[in-house]
């Protein structure tokens, strides 16, 4: 199979692109049996010659996230040329449509639009365009079962969970005796969401346990700031790139994965899986994306008291929890490497090669 992934080059999408596109493309190539490439979305829409040549050879196009706007016409063009289309969605619709800066005000200048002539006056809403594109797609892959529920009305939808490239999580652990590092990754892709009181809870834990160091990655601390704590107890990494995160993960003693909103309920499972792959004990919101890992960590309901108890427990008995995290949880995570699951991923992609099962879809 020859697969081309079409992805956004935006910084905000980078972690997701790595997880949902680069990881899979790399594993496919490494297998030696398949071809895979990743192309930039703007180049795809502009029909740049190199990209066109690449796509002509592909069997399957995977459009990551942005399947609306001028993508509708481009997807139809390639479908006309016999390509199977998979749309990969890992965000709630609201988040997805709000992020489409990439596609703003481009439509009339793109090659396909120039070839088809002036458009009629009416413009579709982005949500309409997304639905139109899904009707053209052979398959929709989503990162969580809730997203499958959202989109299954428009196209055959399959839950394709996040898989890791474990090579990225083999960093040497930095030793920090006498300290307990609690980590919270605040990437801008909806995989971590604070609920009211969580930050105060963290700071309170740091006050109660002087050995705790709260490491916040990717964003300034919201709310009340340091709140009387010393600077070495709260460490901020404001400009962390997604490439650095796995290296830092292994240094944590406790990883946090809070989710709180409707959007969060649709997130993928990668955050907790990363902790498990790095042998880090974790606490996560008791949310759908993480329920399969219940036996390997702590799922807590989103209230400050529950999180306070869970945090203090992990801080006070960290050695024991670290030992457990290095056992079954780690072994389970090893089984979620993308290369270990290539057959499953390919069988999902192969479904796009059969005729659509929905009568209302486009052949």
């Amino acid at each position: 199979m020859n697969i081309v992934y079409v992805c956004s080059p935006q910084e905000a999408d980078r972690e997701s692109v790595r997880l949902r596109c680069h990881n899979l493309a790399g594993a496919l190539l490494a297998s030696g049996w398949h071809q895979a490439s990743v192309v930039d979305l703007p180049a795809f829409l502009e029909m740049e010659p190199g990209v066109v040549a690449l796509v002509h050879q592909a069997d399957v196009l995977v459009i990551h996230r942005y399947a609306f706007g001028p993508m509708l016409q481009t997807v139809q063009y390639w479908k006309a040329h016999g390509k199977r289309i998979i749309v990969d969605i890992d965000l709630h619709e609201r988040d997805l449509l709000a992020r489409a800066n990439l596609l703003e005000a481009r439509a009339e200048t793109l090659p396909l639009a120039r070839k088809t002539g002036p458009l009629p006056a009416a413009h579709a809403l982005r949500s309409e365009e997304l639905r139109f594109t899904l009707r053209l797609a052979n398959l929709v892959t989503v990162c969580s079962p809730r997203l499958a529920d959202d989109w299954s009305a428009y196209a055959p939808t399959v839950h394709l969970p996040d898989y890791l490239n474990l090579d990225r999580y083999l960093a040497v652990r930095q030793q920090h005796p006498g300290e307990i590092w609690i980590g919270l990754m605040m990437a801008g892709d909806g995989r971590t969401e604070l609920f009211p009181g969580l930050v105060d809870t963290l700071l309170e834990v740091a006050r109660l346990r002087p050995q705790v160091r709260v490491h916040i990655y990717g964003s300034p601390l919201p709310g009340s700031g340091l709140n009387g704590l010393s600077a070495d107890q709260v460490v901020l990494y404001n400009n962390l790139s997604v490439e650095e995160w796995p290296r830092l993960l292994g240094n944590l003693n406790i990883g946090l994965a809070p989710l709180s909103s409707e959007e969060g309920m649709r997130a993928g499972r990668a955050r907790v899986l990363e902790y498990m792959a790095s042998k880090v004990p974790w606490i996560a919101s008791n949310a759908q994306p993480f329920r399969e890992f219940e036996r390997y960590g702590i799922l807590a309901s989103n209230d400050p008291d529950t999180w306070m108890r869970a945090l203090l427990q992990l801080v006070d008995h960290n050695d024991q929890y670290r030992a457990e995290a290095g056992g079954e949880a780690f072994l389970y995570a090893l089984g979620q490497d993308v290369r270990e699951n290539l057959d499953r991923i390919l069988s999902i992609y192969a479904r796009s090669l059969t005729d659509p099962t929905y009568f209302h879809q486009v052949m």
Partner: protein, 551 residues
């Protein structure tokens, strides 16, 4: 009872059965009885009359007349026969004129014409196919057997596929059977098209000596439209050196031998180029693809191509005056240009079989897609039949409305659930076959206004290539084409035609096949000679005073 009497009694009984079938509108059954009677007794007057009547009803007056004549020879004083003879003569020499009107093949064709249904595969064909298959499978060298019987396999291909269809159905594989049926239809269509091609006499003009350089001037040379691209392709195939450009610079560009300029009034640089070329005595052809003088203000292309400014109106007139010949794509437009005093030649729109999308087999779907494509039919045209379309969609749950290119038109069907309607954006013309493959019944409503009266028949030709039946307003070009669909004027006719096509998949297939056979003659390799004729005329007679129309 004597043998002859027994025979007569049996024939009498069969005629009673046949008349009963006719009264019950069971045409197939009645026809088979009368044809069998005529085969065994070529002088049976009743059979000759009934068969003649059926051929006349199917539009084959030639065959009907021949049958009536035979019957009249047996019974010259029969007044009814005399009337029928006169009626057939008055219809003219229409129809194919069957040499054996009672033969199985002719009867199958007659049934198709009368009922719109594809005749079932004759058992004899199936037996031959089965026997051939058996010999191949049981031979010592199947590959060699296949090689030796390639011609026979080719002839029996539809029957061989039929055997596979029946096997698939008995194996409980309706999806496979459906796919094989599509394949069978395409194979049959190709065979009929080949027959039509062989039957037609190709007139290759002996005067196609022009092999010079042709400059095609168009507003958007980077993305030329289909008419320009096809012209370029067929001129090149005739040995011309073709260039597509957006302007002519006398200082920098080589002098072409002839120029074809497409809608030159739409771009000032095109007219400037025409002026330079005219000054250099280069033969000029102006090609117009619409009746710009009558373009309505509401037309989406009016701001870009309509004569809405004095400059553009002057440019339009000037381009016609500069040209030695005007080429157009519809007979009505040719009449308009001719009546304005300009030499004009009709160059019909065509298609190119080298675009693989035209011949790609469509997938199967369990519903009938009723489709409308924006341009030349407009939003207002679709709105005029909206009620009728909605009525059919609501009555027949296995239908869906497909709207291409115009979102406002899609919104006309907002009352339908999302699964019952589909919007597809417009695509470049090369990919249009893909859009057509999403449609099972094409709707072409158009207002009865002068601009639309000059519409080209291209949408019907393209529908024919893809085997799609159509329903269209009776525009002159659509009336002239008439193959593969139905014309509808009133809302009642639209409703009747749409409902009939939506209900009857066999009728859709038959009309699609008819359109497909007709579309073959507009394939570029056959129809491209019109461009060469236009060039020949422009080069030999720069300013002819007469109109040339193709035969």
């Amino acid at each position: 009872m004597t043998f002859q009497t027994a025979q007569e009694a049996e024939r009498k009984f069969r005629k009673i059965m046949a008349r009963t079938y006719l009264n019950q509108n069971r045409l197939e059954d009645a026809l088979e009885i009368y044809a069998a009677i005529l085969r065994s007794d070529p002088e049976d007057g009743d059979a000759l009359l009934v068969l003649g009547n059926l051929y006349l009803a199917a539009g084959d007056a030639s065959t009907a007349g021949a049958l009536y004549t035979r019957a009249l020879a047996l019974n010259p004083k029969d007044l009814a026969l005399q009337r029928q003879c006169a009626l057939a003569q008055s219809e003219g020499a229409t129809g194919s004129g069957e040499s054996e009107p009672a033969g199985e093949a002719a009867v199958a064709r007659l049934i198709e014409k009368l009922t719109g249904k594809t005749a079932p595969m004759p058992d004899a064909e199936l037996e031959k196919a089965a026997a051939l298959l058996d010999r191949i499978v049981h031979s010592d060298n199947p590959a060699e057997m296949v090689a030796l019987h390639l011609d026979e396999i080719d002839d029996l291909l539809p029957a061989l596929i039929e055997l596979n269809i029946r096997q698939a159905e008995s194996d409980g594989r309706p999806d496979l059977a459906s796919g094989l049926r599509n394949l069978q239809q395409n194979v049959t269509l190709q065979k009929e098209a080949e027959k039509a091609e062989n039957a037609e006499v190709i007139v290759e003009s002996p005067s196609f000596t022009f092999k010079g350089s042709v400059l095609l001037l168009t507003a958007d040379p980077e993305h030329p439209n289909a008419r320009v691209s096809l012209a370029a392709a067929c001129l090149a195939s005739h040995g011309c050196q073709v260039t597509i450009d957006g302007a002519y610079d006398p200082a920098a560009d080589a002098r072409p031998d002839v120029v074809i300029s497409y809608n030159p009034h739409t771009q000032p640089r095109l007219l400037e180029s025409l002026a330079s070329l005219a000054a250099a005595d280069v033969p000029l052809i102006v090609d117009l693809d619409s009746d710009f003088e009558n373009m309505p203000i509401s037309h989406p292309l009016y701001p870009l191509t309509g004569l809405n400014t004095p400059q553009r109106a002057r440019a339009f007139t000037a381009s016609l005056l500069l040209s030695g010949l005007v080429t157009v794509n519809s007979p009505r437009l040719a009449e308009i240009i001719h009546s304005a005093g300009h030499p004009v030649q009709l160059v019909p729109d065509m298609w190119n079989r080298k675009n693989a999308l035209w011949t790609r087999l469509p997938g199967t779907r369990p519903i009938a897609n009723i489709g409308w494509i924006s341009g030349p039919s407009q939003l207002e045209d679709l709105a005029s039949i909206r009620r009728v379309v909605l009525r059919v969609l609501r009555e027949l749950p296995n239908t869906r409305m497909v709207v291409v290119g115009d979102l406002n038109a899609y919104r006309l069907f907002d009352t339908l659930p999302e699964q019952r309607r589909l919007f597809l954006p417009a695509v470049p013309e090369d990919e249009k076959p893909y859009l057509l493959s999403q449609i099972d019944i094409l709707l072409l409503p158009m207002r009865n206004q002068p601009f639309f009266q000059a519409t080209s028949d291209l949408p019907l030709v393209e529908a024919g290539v893809k085997g799609i039946p159509w329903i269209a307003s009776p525009m002159p070009a659509f009336r002239d084409w008439h193959e593969g669909g139905m014309l509808a004027d009133s809302l009642e006719e639209w409703h009747q035609a749409l409902r009939q096509l939506a209900l009857d998949a066999d009728l859709r297939a038959t009309l699609g096949k008819t359109g497909g056979v007709a579309a073959v003659r507009r394939e570029m390799s056959r129809s491209g000679r019109h461009w060469m004729e236009a060039i020949q005329q422009a080069v030999s007679v720069p300013h002819p005073t007469q109109t040339r129309m193709p035969a």
